[in-house]
Subunit: 140 residues, 2 copies
Amino acid sequence: MENTVIESRLQKKGVKPTANRITVFRTLSEMQGPVSLSDLEDRLPTLDRSSIFRTLTLFLEHHLLHSIEDGSGSLKYEMCGNDDDCSIDDMHVHFHCEVCGKTYCFEDLHIPSVDLPSGFIPRSVNYVVKGICDSCKNKQ
Amino acid sequence: MENTVIESRLQKKGVKPTANRITVFRTLSEMQGPVSLSDLEDRLPTLDRSSIFRTLTLFLEHHLLHSIEDGSGSLKYEMCGNDDDCSIDDMHVHFHCEVCGKTYCFEDLHIPSVDLPSGFIPRSVNYVVKGICDSCKNKQ
DNA sequence: ATAAAGTTTGCAATCCGGTTGCAAATGTTT
DNA sequence: AAACATTTGCAACCGGATTGCAAACTTTAT
């Protein structure tokens, strides 16, 4: 992905496109599926952990990312769908394998909605299934 | 709740009913909704953090409890429905308020199921909505 | 261009929830 | 009551998340 494209996407959401931010953005786009802070740290050894963290936080606030809590102990991040805001309706189901620890991202499995009691305002939804993935099932 | 009742429920699930475990069990039953390890620690200052932790882990293994990951950073625990095993189908929706940090438990909102790709075996499901709760909405 | 003001970054330190090793206390068995 | 097993508390540790602070860098105003 070209820098200019990334820059304009950041700018469109009100994020100043610094070198680090562009790097983090590109890396997140390249790594398909949900990634953790440590994943990014490993991939970007020149950047400091705290800088990556602050970048992720900023991206979250500006709706470039959403976060997922699978049962792994560390928060995962994932790019929002390409251009539109990360709305609740395009969030999808995740699966966390209890054997290999991998988090799968079922993009085409749309999260079914529920009717909240009145007065409760939803902002995001997390639907995470834990169990055994296909690959681990077959290995055993 | 009488001790004898608690004791027999523990025994039925294969957990030896020690004094601590009975205490933790009763406290969990009394505190309605999902509670964290720290919540229990505050409520039970005579027990050690590690003892509570080990008790919760034991209860989890023996399906007396289930755990929920809302966005709060700490795992929450909640008693399973009264007598039957804690099956996926009786798990319910949780709501985490981003303002006050409280986790609500919508017992009557059953988690809608999705069709996983073939080969994926579900063991538990987490459906957590984050947003603003009724009470915080009105306060502001 | 340069000084002043604001922003971003890296480092180091800290926080905090979760988890474990170990020895003392308690309970169980014979 | 001796031998053994289980449970508990203490203290320490771990790892992910988060922050204070000063240095580097950008932007703005002069």
